[in-house]
C-alpha cells in the first residue's frame, strides 16, 4: 500500500499569536516548578531537611573514606573541598534523575494539551535548583566557619549555575526522551551518574588527574562546573579558562545533539503514555 500512496511529509502548524505562546511557556513552567517543589517533600517527616541532608551525608561518607585512603585536596580542608564539589554534583544527579521520568509523571497533561514538551524536564531541572539553593546555605555556613576569604569572583556564580543547569538539562532531556519509550534508560540513570562520578573531580582534585589525560578529562562538562565553583567559592579566584571553556563547548555540543532528538521524539510521547 505504501508503495502506491504518495505520503505528504508530516507537519503540524497551529497559527496563534507568538507572544501568547511564550507567556504560556513561562506560566506553565512556573506552575510546574511550584508544583514540583511543594509536592516533592509532601508526606515525608523530614520534609525540606532532605535538601540539606543529602549532600551532607555524602560529604560525611567521603570524609570517612578519606580516613582510610589518602586523597589530596589541594590544601583545602577536606570538608570544604568535598562539599563544594558535592553541591553542583548533587544538583546534576538529582536533576538528571528528575528529568528521566518527567514526561511519564506528567502524562495526564501531555495526553491532553499541546505544549512544548521541553517544559517538563526544564521544570524538573529548575525545581532541583531550589534544593541547590538550600544546600548552598550549608556551604555559606561552612565558609563562614572556616573563615574562607570571599571576593568579586563570587559574581561568577550565576554563570556557573547556568552552565550547570544547561549540562544537566542536556543529559536530562536525552534520558527523558528515550526513557519515555524505553524505561531501561531511566533504570540505567543511577549507574550512569555513579560511573560519571568517577570521572568528575568531586572526591579528588583535578590536579590528581595525570597531565596528559587532562584535556580529554575536561571534555566532561561537569569538570569545568565543579572546578569553577571550587575556585570562586574557596580560592576567591576567577575560574580557570580552559576547563570552563571546554565544559561550555561540550555542553553546547551535547545540547545540540540531545535537543533535536528530544524534539523529534516528543511528538510521539502521547502515543506511548
Amino acid at each position: 500500500m505504501s508503495g502506491t500512496t504518495q505520503f505528504i511529509k508530516s507537519s503540524y502548524i497551529n497559527v496563534s499569536p507568538r507572544s501568547r505562546k511564550r507567556s504560556q511557556f513561562a506560566t506553565v513552567l512556573r506552575a510546574l516548578v511550584i508544583r514540583d517543589v511543594t509536592s516533592r517533600y509532601r508526606r515525608s517527616s523530614l520534609g525540606m531537611w532532605w535538601a540539606f541532608l543529602q549532600p551532607l551525608i555524602l560529604m560525611l561518607l567521603f570524609n570517612m573514606l578519606r580516613g582510610f585512603v589518602n586523597i589530596p585536596s589541594d590544601g583545602i580542608p577536606y570538608i570544604l573541598f568535598s562539599y563544594s564539589g558535592l553541591l553542583p554534583w548533587t544538583f546534576f544527579t538529582n536533576s538528571v534523575a528528575a528529568c528521566g521520568p518527567s514526561i511519564i509523571t506528567n502524562a495526564e497533561i501531555i495526553k491532553k494539551i499541546a505544549l512544548p514538551r521541553e517544559v517538563f524536564p526544564l521544570a524538573a531541572v529548575t525545581a532541583t535548583l531550589f534544593d541547590f539553593v538550600m544546600s548552598g546555605i550549608v556551604m555559606a555556613i561552612l565558609m563562614i566557619y572556616y573563615a574562607v576569604p570571599i571576593g568579586w569572583a563570587l559574581l561568577w556564580i550565576p554563570a556557573l549555575v547556568i552552565l550547570m543547569g544547561a549540562a544537566s538539562f542536556a543529559v536530562g532531556i536525552l534520558i527523558a526522551g528515550l526513557g519515555t519509550f524505553r524505561k531501561d534508560f531511566i533504570f540505567a540513570t543511577p549507574f550512569l551518574t555513579q560511573a560519571w562520578l568517577f570521572i568528575t573531580p568531586v572526591i579528588y582534585p583535578l590536579s590528581s588527574v595525570p597531565e596528559k589525560w587532562q584535556s580529554i578529562y575536561m571534555l566532561n562538562p561537569m569538570v569545568g562546573v565543579i572546578e569553577g565553583f571550587r575556585s570562586v567559592l574557596l580560592k576567591a579566584q576567577t575560574p580557570a579558562f580552559e576547563p570552563l571553556a571546554l565544559s561550555a563547548l561540550t555542553t553546547a555540543l551535547l545540547l545540540g545533539l540531545s535537543w533535536p532528538v528530544f524534539r523529534k521524539l516528543s511528538g510521539y510521547f502521547a502515543d506511548v503514555l
Binding site: 505504501s2 500512496t5 505520503f7 505528504i8 511529509k9 508530516s10 507537519s11 503540524y12 502548524i13 497551529n14 497559527v15 496563534s16 501568547r20 505562546k21 507567556s23 504560556q24 506560566t27 506553565v28 512556573r30 506552575a31 508544583r35 509536592s39 509532601r42 495526564e108 497533561i109 501531555i110 495526553k111 491532553k112 494539551i113 499541546a114 505544549l115 519509550f181 521524539l265 511528538g267 510521539y268 510521547f269 502521547a270 502515543d271 506511548v272
Partner: protein, 415 residues
Amino acid sequence: MSDVTIRIEGLWKRYGLPVPELVRKSVLAAKKIFGSKNDFLNETWALRDINLEVRKGETLGIVGRNGAGKSTLLKVLAGVTAPTHGKVEIFGRIFPMIELNAGLHMELTGRENVRLLGAVMGLAKDEIEEKLPGIEDFCELGSWFDQPVRMYSSGMLGRLGFGVAVNIQSDVVLIDETFAVGDLKFQNKSLARVKEMRESGATILLVSHSLETLQFVAKRGILLEQGQLISDGTSLEAINAYEKLVFRSEQQRLEHRVRNRISSEDVYIYNARLFDENGESIKEVISGEPFGIEVDLHLNRALEKPMFSMGLLNAAGILCKWNISEEDGLEASGEPNRYILKIWYPENRLANGAYEAHFATRDATSFETLERIAGIVSFAVVGPKRARGIVAGTCEWRLTPVLEGDTPNGKPAIG
C-alpha cells in the same frame, strides 16, 4: 479562503514512533524468514488519508464506531500527538477537551487545576483570576471546588473540564464525549453555552456517542470507519450513514452466530433470501417498504398439513413479529417435493435496526417439529427517520391550548 480554521491534507496516523522505511522492510523480511511474532512493527493505521477543511464557526460532529479513529483525529488536531504523514494546519487558539476530564493534577484542588489549565491554555494570571468566579459558578461544584481533584467523581471532573472549556475564549474547541456529564439541567446549560460559542464564531468539533446531542449541536457531520473518512455531509446524513454501518455489522454478527438448529431428516432447507416488491434479492429493507422472505426447501416425507412459522427478532433478541402460516390462511398439502415458500410482509412496521428471522416447519396434525432454524436470514432495516423503538410509524400530534378554568389548579400532577 481566509475563513478556514482547520485544514487537513493527506493525514495518516499510526501510533508509535515512525519507523524508517529501510528498517521497516528489513524487519518485515526477517519476520517472513523467521516467522517470529514480534510486535515491533505496528502495522495498523489509526487514521488513513484524511482530508478535511473546517470553516470558522462550523460545528462538526464526528461519528464512528469504537476504534474508528475519532479520538485519534482530535488528538492530532490538538497537537498532542504528531501526524505520521500529512499536513495539519489550525488557525487560532485551540482548546482540547480530550478524555473527559480536565484533572491535570490529582493532588491539586479544583481551583488550582483551573489555574494550571488556564496557564496551559496561555492565559495571563489576571485573566485567569477574572474568569475563575464564572467557572466556579458554571461547574456547580460548591465546596468541592476547593477539594483535591482525586476525590472527584468522573461526572464532577467532566463538569470541571467543561466549565473551563466554555468559559475560556478559544477559536477551536475539541470536545470528546463530554456531554453526558451532569444532570439534565447541566447538560442543557452546556448545550446553550456551546450554541453561544458557535454564534460568537468559534469552530467546534464534537465526538459523542449520543447521536441525539450531535444532531442538535452539530450542523455538519463526518463518519469515520477504520480510520477512513467515509461520509461528509450534514450531521443527519452522517448519523444515518453511521447507523447503517452499525446495523450492518450487527447483522453480520447475527449471521456469524452459531445457528440453533433442531432438525429431523424430513426437511431439507437449501436456501433462504430476502426480496423486495420486484422479487429482487436485497440485503437491507427500507423502513416502511414491504418485503418478503423466501425459503427454498424440500419435504422428504408427506405431511398431512404442513405448518410454517416465521419470527423476526431484533438485535436485542426481542421477538418483534411472529406469524404462523395456518393462521394467515395457507392451505396446502405436503407431498414429498421441493418447494419455494414465500412470506410477504405488506405492512412493514419494523423500526430501524438489525433483525434475524427464525423459521420452523411443523406438522399441524401431530404438532411435531420437523425443522427449526434460528437465524435463517438476517437483515437490517434502514431509514432516515430519527424515531426509535420496536415499532415504526408516525403518530399524529396535536397541541391545543387549554382555556383557563379547565384545570382544577395550576399544580402539575406529575413531577
